[in-house]
Amino acid sequence: MAEEKSILAVFSDIDPAADAIEQLRLLGVHDDCMNVISGIPVTEAMLGRPSQWTNVPRLALGGAAAGFLVGLFLAFITPNMYTISVGGQPFTPVPPAVIVLFEMTMLGMLISTFVGVFFDSLFPNYRPMHYVPEISDGKIAILIECLPPDEQKVRDVLKQLGAESVEEAEAQHL
């Protein structure tokens, strides 16, 4: 589909954007074909959008588990590689091991959360993307991909509902 075009409609406020999304849905634009780009975290509920799927919590959990395993290795395996007795303590005392386990678990969890954001958001991504810099000045943009055949209708609706500009989205260097 070489023909496929995207439209970027820029709104200055949340209300018209929410209305526009509703109208678009009536026009047959599927939710998956829409994306809202905003400078502040506008929640899905405000715009009446389905909630987004995110892997971050799962990744965090996995990272925690991995960190825990590393902690186990450090606390219980490494002292047995070269057994050295100190201060009459056992080689693998549990109380200090708890500390190691805790720190490594937290480290694993937080690193994987951080990496999770990158992973889920496909960061870093320096390829050209549909964007207008005004978004970071508070505008809300709706990016409509996979346009229905009656493209003009969509444009009209957006215009009617107060879009400041409705333009063919151009990929640009961010």
Binding site: I84, S85, V86, G87, G88, Q89, P90, F91
Partner: protein, 252 residues
């Protein structure tokens, strides 16, 4: 007989092993404070001198020092017994677990506290944690001939059996472990056990008053064990549960 601390995961069992292997008894009634032990130790163990300023600032490197306090007021004043203070080779040493690099560890073969110089990174935690304050730290390059030209010739007397330490390393009394090894090696090559009194530490060897006795504390018939059972015997700061291997015989 060596007690294998590997298998012992309980404190009680460690206390059982607490008698250790090598022990020392110091008779404070005999110690005259003459410093012969200090000099002998310095000569045996390549201990640097630190010169006036550092010495007066608590940086002297002696592995053994004689402590003495005053009691009473003139004219009924007296010195409360010279107490040679050296590493007590604790069975449960507070210095050991706190080293992050395993530089001070408990020798399971010899039941001694070891200081592994080359592993030491110089956090000085062990010295902080030593209730006896007997660890000394190489604050400067005291043994470097580039810093001190006289070391070039003084180094001729260095004991090749003991590492020459450089700056940033903690050190302490080793119970003359080089002599222990030597005696054990000799005994082994002759197919026998080390005999009591066959060798001794440099301090005990020098002590003119014979106030220091060194030997196998786990052999009940050895001289040091017999002395350690004396009614005058006490351990310094015993209440900390460090299980010191040096026994002091009180005056009187």
């Amino acid at each position: 007989m060596t007690v294998d601390l590997n298998k012992l995961h309980a404190v009680g069992a460690i206390a059982e092993a607490a008698e250790g292997k090598w022990g020392m008894v110091i008779d404070m009634d005999l110690c005259t404070g003459c410093q012969a032990c200090v000099a002998a130790c310095a000569m045996e163990n390549n201990i640097p001198y630190v010169e006036e300023e550092d010495a007066g600032y608590g940086r002297s490197m002696h592995w053994i020092r004689t402590e003495r306090f005053w009691e009473g007021e003139y004219p009924e004043v007296k010195i409360s017994g010279y107490q040679p203070m050296l590493c007590q080779q604790c069975g449960k040493a507070p210095c050991e677990p706190v080293c992050p690099a395993f530089a001070t560890v408990h020798s399971q073969a010899e039941q001694l506290n070891l200081q592994v110089y080359n592993r030491c990174v110089g956090t000085r935690y062990c010295a902080n944690n030593c209730p006896y304050q007997v660890r000394s730290f190489n604050w400067r390059d005291y043994q470097d001939s580039r810093v001190r030209p006289e070391i070039t010739i003084l180094a001729n007397q260095f004991n090749p059996d003991v590492t020459v330490r450089r700056r940033g390393v903690m050190e302490k009394c080793t119970f003359c472990i080089q002599r222990i090894h030597k005696a054990q090696d000799k005994a082994k090559s002759e197919g026998r056990e080390v005999e009591d009194g066959e060798f001794t530490t440099a301090c005990a060897q020098a002590c003119p008053a014979n106030a220091i006795t060194f030997g196998r504390i786990d052999h009940p018939e050895s001289l040091v064990s017999q002395l350690a059972r004396s009614p005058r015997a006490e351990h310094h700061l015993e209440e900390l549960g460090t299980l010191p291997r040096v026994t002091y015989l009180k005056e009187g």
